[in-house]
Amino acid sequence: MSSVQSPVTEPVGSKTLMDNPIVKAIRSSPLFGSVAALLLVSIFFAFTARNFLSANTFSLILQQVMVVGVMAIGQTLVIITTGIDLSCGMVMGLSGLLTAGLAVQTGLNPWLALILGVGVAVAFGALNGSLVTGIGLPAFIVTLGTMNIAWALKRIYSTSTITLTEAQAPLKFLGTPIKAGGMELPPPGIVLMLLAYVVAWFMMKYTAAGRSVYAVGDNVEAARLAGLNTKRILLGVYTVAGLCYGIAALLQIARTGVGDPNAGESTNGNMDAITAVVIGGTSLFGGRGSMVGTLVGVLIVGVLRTGLQLMGVQPTYQVLVTGVLVIAAVSVDQLTHRK
């Protein structure tokens, strides 16, 4: 019993930096952890990776994250409702490959190919949503299934890369840097990604739909008894997530110039979207999370990947690092949740 006896003479009112109201407000912000992590990672690479602190690198990071960034918006919605969407990377890959294939090989009008390609991603989202709400299957199982289905369909459709040509210029527009008066501006896809975040942030904060997503995530039965159409909300969440993966697919083919059957697989960020969402502070327990947090999480993943690349680390090891990161982030979530 002696181990619990100690004098109770801790100082009570001593003024420290931690008592400062501004410091307190910053510390209590849900974004504190993720922003701090982003700064730490950036500082680390500023010292260790050559050329990290340059406009080029910054532009490179943004270009690299725009695909995962848009996927992560959909994933955030799903995770806030206590779900998870394992199919996101594969659906994105399938959607991109189809868009490229329909335009290049089938010879469809690129705009029509684009609509069909994105449509497939939306259909996959709606399928996930229907299975989760209609039959009441766990999201993990449903999306594990559709992940494999999307992967297989992708391979059945094509096992070789499909290169976009000048005839498909509209499909490359989003990924092509803009040259203006000798200056090279980043590609418009980045603007599209940021715009998507603004829209998503606005929806979550200023619309009834956004509120409903949080409500369903906190307690689906209480939300139903509060008069929300919970099934429609969940179906909407998964469908919008599918749309996000479709838009991400357009960014993917625009950036690389090819429909790639390997797109969306492990080394190419299948799980990066989930990692980014969790690092960004969205709780796997549902009801809690923000689009701004996810954007920060996406940047952390992007900085890590780019920084490691600049240091000459193999992609395999980058995957290893993001794996460790996601476990760390979920642990933090679990520990704070318990408190």
């Binding site: 619990v4 006896q5 109770v8 009570v12 200023y206 509060a226 008069g227 009801g287």
Partner: protein
């Protein structure tokens, strides 16, 4: 009341203080427990009872004050510290693993080993002894998930006893029990008391305190008010200490006459639980639904609210056929339900006060599809003020609020919607006297405004004090309708359990 010889002082808490961001939860609170004493801890919601016992059990750490155990200064910082001292707490939400047996739960985290292997024989023998000492006739191999609430509570007590408990804290142990189970619980508490364990007993039911406790400590607004010997006080004294007002004033007087029939329910059934329910509800009246747990009251009103589908029967609302497809549909028709399980079905616990208040009426706060957050803030602040909700602000998470304040948040949600039929299922369960009185007043005001109210309650004084008419349900049927004058505790109880017909032939 037990005339136990006063034992040694086991535990003393002196000048305990605790501050949360924005709230001073406790300040200068004292509590002193002797061996073999039942010490009641009394106070309104938000008085600081929960915070105090969480400090004692190591769930929170205090900011100020000292704790002495057996006369020695100790530091309780973690649940493990409390456990080493022999302080066990039984919370309202039990902490049992549903897929494990009673024996496994009793020994969870403390499994004895023999030669490197778990000594299951010892586990089962000791568990059997513990259950026997509590007069529980259950196999130690029963899965706890299959037990009734009362039985689970006994397993929690057995678990505590297995850890050489010297102080047992019970947080509203009777709130979830039926009358019969409460008697059993009391017998167990008295036996523990006789064995020298000090018991801290938290309850909202004053009657129980007079039946069980030796001493009572009253808290109010996080401060210590008084400690009294139960023999020296009466109920009025305690209520005055708690809220500073008299008990008779708790049920508001109403004058208004009931108006037109608003809701008419005929031969409603919902599976085998509600079998045949017919009644009319008039504008401006409060109809109380009495009956024992499982008599089908909740099942019937859930159909009225569209939460479940009827299996038979018809309803009309304002003379028109009414069969809500969903709660959303019911709300559109002006029908609202305050659920009996506030935490699981009523509130979005981890979301904020403002969120919970406006979640059902977001379409009223929209302009061109955009939520007007400023209007929302205004509305929410108005309700916080009007209903006297204790919260640091609209952004406070409801999970951190007391039961009474949580219930007011639920009420505010519906009040801003222009509801015509208001159904309240156990509206004051787990709520202290002060908040109860406020909720009764709100209900009375609503009735005076012409809103038709159905109140389900298992507390007979509440049913009798609030209702214009009383419907008694038994086995899925309304067996008797009583006017305010006819209704008394005896008559209602007789119909509720089925004696009345037997007497009347």
């Amino acid at each position: 009341m037990t005339e136990a010889a006063p034992g040694r002082v086991l535990l003393e808490m002196k000048g305990i203080g605790k501050t949360f961001p924005g709230v001073k939860a406790l300040e200068g609170v004292h509590l002193s427990i002797r061996e073999g004493q039942v010490h009641a801890l009394l106070g309104e919601n938000g008085a600081g009872k929960s915070t105090l016992i969480k400090i004692l059990s190591g769930a929170y750490t205090r900011d100020e004050g000292e704790i002495y155990f057996d006369g020695e200064l100790v530091d309780v910082r973690t649940p493990a510290d409390a456990e080493r001292l022999g302080i066990s707490t039984i919370y309202q939400e039990f902490n049992l693993a549903p897929n494990m047996t009673i024996a496994e739960n009793i020994f969870l985290g403390h499994l004895p080993t023999k030669g490197g292997r778990i000594d299951w024989a010892a586990v089962r023998t000791r568990s059997r002894e513990l259950l026997d000492s509590l007069n529980v006739n259950l196999s130690v191999d029963t899965l706890t998930g299959t037990l009734s609430v009362a039985q689970q509570q006994m397993v929690e007590i057995a678990k505590a006893l297995n850890r050489n408990t010297r102080i047992l804290v019970m947080d509203e142990p009777s709130a979830v029990l039926s009358e019969k189970d409460i008697e059993k619980l009391f017998a167990v508490v008295r036996r523990l008391q006789a064995s020298g364990i000090g018991i801290i007993y938290i309850s909202h039911r004053l009657k129980e305190i007079f039946e069980l406790a030796d001493e009572v400590t009253v808290l109010k607004d996080g401060r210590y008010v008084a400690t009294r010997s139960v023999a020296e006080v009466d109920m009025d004294d305690l209520v005055k200490l708690m809220i500073g007002r008299n008990l008779e004033d708790i049920y508001p007087k109403r004058e208004g006459e009931p108006g037109e029939v608003v809701l008419s329910v005929s031969h409603l059934a919902q599976t085998h639980l509600a079998r045949d329910v017919s009644f009319d509800l008039r504008a401006g009246e409060i109809v109380g639904f009495a009956g024992i747990t499982g008599s089908g009251r909740t099942e019937a009103v859930r159909v009225v609210f569209g939460a479940d589908k009827a299996t038979a029967g018809e309803m009309t609302l304002f003379g028109k056929p009414y069969s809500p497809r969903s709660p959303k549909d019911a709300i559109r028709h002006g029908v609202a339900l305050v659920t009996e399980d506030r935490k699981r079905q009523g509130l979005l616990l981890k979301l904020q006060v403002y969120f919970n208040m406006t979640v059902s009426g977001l379409d009223r706060l929209r302009k061109g599809g955009v939520l007007q957050l400023k209007d929302e803030q205004k509305l929410v602040r108005k309700w916080i003020k009007d209903l006297r909700i204790k919260t640091p602000g609209p952004d406070f998470m409801v999970v951190n609020m007391s039961g009474g304040n949580q219930q007011k948040v639920v009420l505010a949600r519906w009040l801003s919607l222009g509801i015509k039929v208001f159904i309240l299922d156990e509206p004051t369960r787990g709520i202290d006297v002060g908040s109860k009185a406020e909720i009764y007043q709100i209900m009375a005001d609503l009735a005076d405004q012409g809103i038709a109210i159905i109140m389900i309650s298992s507390e007979l004084p509440e049913v009798l004090g609030m209702s214009d008419r009383v419907m008694v349900m038994r086995e899925g049927r309304i067996v008797k309708e009583l006017s305010r004058e006819e209704a008394s505790e005896e008559v209602v109880m007789q119909y509720a359990v089925g004696h009345a017909e037997a007497v009347a032939g």
